[in-house]
Amino acid sequence: MAIPLPILDEPAPSIALSHLDDLWFQVAGTLCNLTCRHCFISCSPHNHSFGFLSLDAVRRVLDESVQLGVKEYYFTGGEPFLNRDMTDILERTLLFGPATVLTNGTVFKVEWLERLARAEAASPYSLEFRVSIDGYTAEANDAVRGPGTFDRALRGVRQLAAHGFLPILTVARTDDDQNDTALFAGFVDLLRANGCDRPRVKILPTLRMGAEEDRQRGYRDEERITPEMMEEYDPDRLICSHSRIVSDHGVHVCPILIEAPDARLGAALAKSLGVYPLRHRACFTCYQYGALCANPSEGRRDA
């Protein structure tokens, strides 16, 4: 069931797609083996709002992406590795370009990682694993992601490291008062202690919607983007200026807004490349932080 999102009834600035750099796939729909308390689309083992994408569905979009000159491919969910086609999908993608998969790291099988290590070695492109852990202690992480998830995710990190991958820990700033410098240091130490000699960390703000709205708070009335705020602002920082996401429902403007009816732009990629008005309060977080969803290797995108 789609969660109704607040759509502002005031004029909103519209953003054109400058180029489709980042093509996302909601490859596991809203299905996840975990039920994190801050999940902005409230994924869980029972949330069937969005379903899996099949290898054939992904393959068709990959073929279409060549003509569009797509730069990077991202896979998210839910938990992507619940999709039994995931290894095949990533192998296929690495024939086209770089692939990044956002995972909770708790369900890997050795056979999958062996195949993926071989696929990346044979490809000119990088395969990135972004592993979500939200605290560098079990206490902090498990309070948000569920009991036992800290140890299970770290096991996944060690499995990735053992197969030669360099996981990027993706950390949601679940406490507004947390200091990023201390967070970075805590996660770097954690990674080093778990087999990662090249620690990589990406810290993200939470999105104040879905489960997170109940855990902490929703957006405040003043947290919105007005046309005046776009003056002197580089729209390239916004995900919708360079991304689209494909789900089993069609093509949506960005990975954050898949549940918003107005953010579904069409059935096919080529028909979903138009302008989009920034009517959602979640757009405010993207506005504030920029390049929210992309890998650090893409840079911050502000000129």
């Binding site: 180029h19 750099d21 992406s65 060549v66 003509q67 569009l68 000159g69 797509v70 730069k71 990077e72 086209f96 370009g97 770089p98 990346e120 000119p124 492109y125 990088s126 395969l127 990135e128 030669g164 991958f165 360099l166 990023d180 410098t181 970075f184 240091a185 000699d197 090249r198 990589r200 960390v201 990406k202 810290i203 390239d236 890998n295 650090p296 290797s297 893409e298 840079g299 911050r300 995108r301 502000d302 000129a303």
Partner: protein, 262 residues
């Protein structure tokens, strides 16, 4: 539009005037028509102002990198966009040092540099830029750029050859319709491969397009000694002495990151 058949192209001088001297000497000995620099004259190394007389005396045709843009415009940082506090710490030291040791005249000179140049090499139309044809500070890594994406850049920017330097690691890709993408590498610091040399590129249209990456040996021990004298971070000195990057690592994709020591 300038037209050539054989040129030398380098970028990322990063204050390394010793490597710049060696590269210019080497390029002249190989008989090139012209020498181009793709920007980032400052950062990392010692004595920024020693770079500019060499560029002028040898008639090097420069474009502006993000560092030159920042220093020229008096911005707060180098526009590399790091988020890791450790990377930002070192980037800040490097930027402050370079800014404070670059004369006003040289800062103004950098401010006026063009951000791109278009030239002809034989039958090929070359687009010279720093990061990408779209953005001065865009990272185009070998392992994150599909060939169809580079084809798109070449088409939309009307170029047969795109030249860049920003990421600091040389690479090249042949594109469709005899078009090419080349990162020419940098002169300022080794490219994270455990070797102390730096490098530049010689491009020829003879009549077909050819790239030769030229390794440049220079007096890196002297550079390291001067960096110590200037109290630049020992982490930077280690890179000069060992060939391994020690800072600003967060922006590397996994394939490029794995090749280094850190």
């Amino acid at each position: 539009m300038p037209s050539h058949t054989r040129i030398a192209v380098f970028g990322g001088v990063y204050n390394n005037y010793l490597a710049l001297e060696a590269a210019l000497r080497d390029a002249r000995s190989r008989g090139v028509d012209a020498v181009y620099c793709l920007g980032d004259l400052g950062a990392f190394g010692p004595h920024p102002d020693r770079v500019f007389p060499l560029l002028r005396d040898h008639g090097v045709l420069c474009i502006q990198g993000n560092y030159d843009n920042s220093i020229g415009e008096g911005l707060a940082d180098c526009q590399c966009g790091y988020t890791d506090p450790r990377d930002n710490y070192f980037a800040h030291i490097s930027y402050e040092y370079t800014f404070n040791h670059t004369s006003l005249a040289n800062r103004l000179w950098m401010k006026e540099l063009p951000q791109q140049r278009r030239i002809e090499l034989g039958r090929y139309r070359l687009l010279l830029c720093h990061g990408s044809p779209r953005k001065m500070n865009e990272f185009l890594w070998e392992s994150t750029c599909p060939t169809h994406f580079l084809d798109h850049l070449a088409t939309t920017h009307n170029a047969d050859v795109i030249l860049t330097t920003h990421t600091g690691v040389k690479w090249q890709r042949r594109l469709s319709h005899d078009r090419h993408f080349v990162n020419v590498g940098v002169l300022g610091r080794p490219e994270n491969d455990g070797r102390t040399n730096v490098g530049y590129a010689i491009l020829t249209a003879n009549p077909n397009f050819e790239v030769e990456f030229i390794p440049v040996e220079y007096d890196y021990r002297r550079l390291a000694a001067e960096m110590r004298e200037e109290r630049l971070p020992l982490e930077f000195v280690e890179t000069v002495m060992t060939g391994w990057w020690t800072t600003c690592l967060e922006i590397l994709p996994s394939k490029e990151r794995r090749r280094g020591r850190y």
